[in-house]
């Protein structure tokens, strides 16, 4: 039963794989880097 639990956990990865998420993630990444650059 433990192995089944582990297998089920592994199958839930990756946690998120959608275009919408990628867009939001990279936008946030870029925003923060831009802010850092401006601050510097």
């Amino acid at each position: 039963s433990l192995l089944r639990q582990v297998s089920s956990l592994v199958r839930r990865l990756p946690a998120m794989e959608s275009e919408k998420f990628q867009d939001e993630f990279l936008t946030e990444y870029n925003d923060t880097l831009l802010m850092t650059y401006l601050a510097v």
Binding site: S1, L2, V6, L9, R12, A15, M16, F21, E24, F25
Partner: protein
């Protein structure tokens, strides 16, 4: 006029003793509360209005009861008679329930269930009555139209620990967690409902049917991105065209986010929450799963 009033009141008492509620109410409603000859104070007027409304409600006559409760609304704000105020609140909640304004009724029932005093005037408030009010609140919330307003009330009820002791709790939990409800569960819930809550609507479905279909439709949006109407109809146990109608109404009323492609006969569900928020929710689930595995391992001595 005084004598007529006395006769009316006596007759009403007799009708009440014979459980002819509507007749008793009609007898009392003939009394002119705003008569210039007999000056009644506001408390008396309020008492009469509430009494008449209660009598009509015994026969489930929401229309007439509402007329008198509306009259009472003008008088209750200035009243400091706690028993009367409570009776007014209960009547109002029941009227909303009968008129199928389930969400508003639920909020009022919930307010009543939270009364802290156990003695108001000469009346004792027993725990069973409060539990009944709470149960009524849960029932009305489940029957209310699915959407963000209902979700808020569901959250309040679900987090109230008194609800976990109610018989109706398992279905509340499922509705709150937006899980699909199966037929046996719906039938079990239907057994607890009052006649007006199982009434037929113009489109030949019952109030319960509509509430359950809308709930299951919203639950489906949590697990799929899009779905054909045939599949949706199968999931909900209804005709695909009916599923399309219900979905389109919910989208128009802003209770569900999505779009319908009538040519392809497909509905696309949109999610309100941001991708990043969803990601965090997924991570929380994953971490919880890791925790559970570790707990299992340590309980097995690994």
């Amino acid at each position: 006029e005084e004598q007529v009033v006395v006769i009316r009141e006596k007759l009403a008492e007799l009708y009440e003793s014979e459980q002819q509620w509507s007749k008793a109410a009609q007898m009392l409603s003939g009394i002119d509360l705003d008569s210039g000859i007999r000056m009644l104070d506001d408390t008396n007027k309020l008492s009469k209005c509430v009494q008449i409304a209660r009598l009509y409600l015994e026969d489930d006559d929401a229309v007439n009861a509402e007329a008198f409760i509306n009259k009472a609304s003008f008088l209750v704000t200035n009243s400091n008679q706690e028993v009367l105020n409570l009776q007014y609140r209960v009547c109002y909640a029941r009227i909303l329930d009968l008129k199928r304004k389930f969400l508003e009724a639920a909020v009022r029932y919930y307010g009543i269930s939270q009364i802290e005093q156990r003695q108001i005037g000469d009346e004792e408030i027993d725990e069973n009555a409060l539990e009944q009010a709470l149960s009524a609140a849960v029932t009305c919330t489940i029957l209310a139209g699915a959407g963000p307003q209902r979700s808020r009330v569901l959250a309040t009820l679900y987090k109230d620990e008194r609800c976990s002791k109610l018989k109706i709790y398992p279905i509340l939990q499922k509705v709150y967690l937006e899980r699909i409800l199966r037929k046996p569960e719906i039938d079990a819930f239907a057994e607890e409902l009052k006649p007006h809550q199982k009434a037929l609507l113009p489109d030949k479905s019952t109030v319960l049917d509509r509430a359950m279909i809308e709930h299951n439709l919203l639950s489906a949006t949590r697990s799929t991105y899009f779905c054909s109407f045939d599949e949706l109809g199968t999931l909900l146990g209804i005709d695909p065209r009916k599923a399309e109608k219900i979905a389109s109404r919910m989208i128009c009323e802003d209770r569900m986010r999505g779009s319908i492609d009538q040519v392809e006969a497909v509905i696309h569900f949109e999610d309100d929450s941001e991708g990043l928020q969803q990601w965090d929710q997924q991570i929380a689930g994953l971490c919880q799963a890791v925790n559970d595995i570790l707990d299992s391992m340590s309980s097995k001595g690994i």
